[in-house]
């Protein structure tokens, strides 16, 4: 089962001829992901790692109508156009890896995607992986193993850290979703929690949050209101972050007295989630719960 991606996922990589695009295309192919086309305007007719390149997503879709997901590896100034192009061409799932996209742009394309019933993961995210089936992103695949824990996270390397300890604990992951570190993301914790709730393979969920915004608090209300059936283990980064400072991610900032780690941990605890004090404790808690 798993969520979002599986062995049926057929991928177009937008920005495939770039340094990052070609590097990660190779790594995804090695993992076994099915990349059927790439798009870079002006580079149509070339191939990258054996994958045919087209000038537009529309052309790629005409030649490969099985495409059902896109990965965007286009520099920030051009990324919004790439997203609109994928939406208009009818791609149903778009993973936006690109960092530093202006928030006004993401606000608009995320809204446009929602109105068109298209799912967006990101921006500024590592992507999605269903171990053993499909890696649609830039994460190191070997850290993950097939299992029963769903991961949803605002962070990249911290996800790898925790996924690794889950793998070592012998539990493995159903799907890991990096929703991104920007203030506004296409998918929220709630969206992914809801998908994991319906997924039979997923027996527990790990939520990796950080300072800034109120996405963790809203997830806590959702867990409480739905009496979420599966155990949720949460880790929140940034307990030592000072207010008013952006901690690397555009979205990681305690502003106007809101969005600090302690209050997020408190909301999640009172909603019935198990909150880990350190990344390693996440796997320990899971082992006890499963």
């Amino acid at each position: 089962m798993a969520i979002l991606v599986n062995n049926e996922t057929r991928i177009v990589v937008q920005g495939i001829t770039g340094r990052q695009g070609s590097f990660h295309t190779k790594s995804m192919l090695q993992y076994g992901s099915k990349i059927v086309a790439g798009v870079t305007p002006g580079k149509g007719g070339q191939t990258v790692e054996g994958v045919p390149v087209y000038d537009t997503v529309r052309e790629a879709m005409r030649e490969h109508p099985e495409i059902n997901a896109s990965m965007i590896m286009v520099p920030a100034p051009y990324a919004p156009d790439a997203v609109y192009e994928a939406i208009d061409a009818g791609v149903g799932l778009i993973v936006v890896i690109t960092e530093h996209i202006p928030v006004h742009d993401s606000m608009r394309f995320i809204r446009y995607a929602r109105l068109n019933d298209v799912k967006i993961v990101g921006p500024n995210c590592p992507g999605v992986i269903t171990p053993g089936e499909c890696k649609l992103g830039i994460m190191p695949g070997h850290i993950f193993s097939r299992g029963s824990v769903g991961i949803v996270s605002r962070s990249g390397t911290l996800t790898y850290e925790i996924a690794h300890s889950i793998t070592k604990a012998g539990l493995g992951q159903s799907t890991a979703v990096g929703i991104g570190g920007d203030p506004i993301t296409g998918m929220s914790f709630i969206d992914v929690l809801e998908m994991f709730r319906r997924d039979e393979q997923t027996r527990a969920v790990v939520l990796i949050g950080e300072i800034g915004g109120d996405m963790e608090e809203r997830a806590a209300s959702y867990i409480k209101e739905t009496s979420y059936e599966k155990p949720v283990v949460a880790y929140i980064a940034g307990r030592t972050a000072p207010p008013g400072k952006r901690m690397g991610h555009a979205g990681a900032i305690i502003s106007m007295g809101a969005g600090d780690a302690e209050s997020k941990m408190k909301s999640l605890t009172s909603a019935g989630a198990h909150v880990a004090r350190t990344p390693a404790e996440t796997a320990e808690l899971l082992r006890k719960l499963l």
């Binding site: 100034p77 006004h104 990249g156 950080e210 307990r239 952006r246």
Partner: protein
């Protein structure tokens, strides 16, 4: 990025939002000239970005141009909450009959712009939202559709001003929303929007521009000056935040670096900083980052925590070893590495007398112990 008050006024003027007459002065003579042109009582306002400058002596009133010049000369070069005053705004003094509040902000929760207005301006809006939320109106705007007449009518009805002021409010809100969108603002706030005998006037403003949008707003780009570690680190391209402890923290990725700080604190240590080298950092980048922190006067222990994905542990090890050779005297170094080329990286560290850890928690505990000893 926060705009200076004079930059906000320039923007307001360009968008037809009324502001008091003003000029920017960098010395007493300029202040004298501007105050003479304005005539009458003026306000001298220090151009600093820190909040609460009024209470810290950064806003003063002058009855004559000579007084304005004198205040300016005294104010320039002083520090307000640690920020040096390089220039002052000389602004026309206006008798205020009432104060309103008006802003457009990005609402992260809904992913939409939010218009906020209140007939009680001049106070902290967060405070007002907490104590008397009924005194403000909040309206979401669809980012694809933009501000419509119904938003404006709702604000007008809520504010209940007389006809001419209400009409003016409509124009100001329309302009403010346009300014907000066209300049990639995270926040465009007028507080207070004063009611004066001449109509509504934006007396003070706070405008935050999205850092990620600066590539298309060259007018706001500024080079950071000064020799602080924060500025130096950012100039090198790192995400850096200064803290007050003695354990220097280097990590790859914002979440992991934050978690590293937290675990160090959990183990009884005190982080000196947050430094994220990002993804795929080369040997040179690691060397720069490590050298910077090893030169930091407060850092006693350097804790490097790297999870290799696109970042390679051997590159990190090589960069770190050369930094320690050059700047490591008297400092202790703790390394935790895992992932791509982990074994090669660890071997390089061991050959140079550095002992790598597998677990982030154990490494953090050691860093905390070393800092205390």
């Amino acid at each position: 990025m926060k705009l200076h008050e004079y930059e906000s006024r320039e923007l307001f003027t360009a968008y037809g939002i009324p502001v008091p007459r003003y000029g920017l002065a960098r010395n007493g003579e300029e202040a004298l000239k501007i105050a003479r042109e304005i005539g009458g009582r003026v306000v001298v306002k220090a151009q600093v970005l820190v909040a609460g400058r009024g209470k810290a002596g950064g806003i003063k009133f002058a009855d004559t141009p000579e007084e304005a010049a004198e205040i300016t000369s005294k104010m320039l070069g002083t520090e307000i909450k640690g920020e040096k005053v390089e220039s002052v705004l000389i602004s026309e003094y206006q008798e205020v009959e009432g104060e309103l509040y008006l802003s457009v902000i990005i609402d992260r929760s809904r992913g939409m712009p939010l218009v906020i207005a209140s007939p009680e301006g001049g106070v902290e809006i967060e405070e007002l939202a907490r104590t008397s939320p009924e005194k403000l109106i909040q309206l979401h705007v669809d980012p694809l559709i933009g501000l419509r007449q119904h938003h404006i009518r709702n604000v007008q009805n809520f504010m209940d001003l007389d006809e001419s002021h209400s009409k003016q409010l409509s124009q100001i809100l329309t302009s403010l929303y346009r300014l907000f969108v066209e300049n990639d603002c995270e926040l465009a706030e007028i507080n207070p929007l004063a009611i004066t005998s001449g109509g509504l006037v934006a007396i003070d403003a706070k405008i935050l521009i999205d850092d990620n949008s600066l590539f298309r707003h060259s007018q706001f780009q500024r080079s950071e000056v000064g020799g602080s570690f924060e500025v130096e680190a950012r100039r090198m391209g790192f995400s850096y935040v200064e803290l007050d402890g003695d354990i220097g923290i280097i990590g790859n990725g914002a979440g992991l670096t934050m978690a590293t700080m937290d675990v160090v604190k959990e183990m009884g240590g005190r982080p000196a900083n947050f430094l994220d080298i990002g993804g795929g950092a080369s040997e040179e980048i690691v060397e720069k980052a490590a050298s910077l922190l090893l030169r930091h006067p407060r850092v006693r222990v350097l804790f490097v925590n790297v999870l290799g994905g696109i970042t390679r542990c051997d590159e990190v090890a090589r960069g770190l070893v050369s930094a320690v050779k050059a700047h490591g005297a008297g400092k202790k170094v703790v390394v935790r590495m895992m992932g791509t080329r982990e074994e090669e990286g660890k071997k390089i560290l061991r050959e140079s007398g550095l002992y790598p850890y597998d677990s982030m928690e154990e490494a953090a505990q050691m860093a905390a112990q070393l800092a205390q000893g």
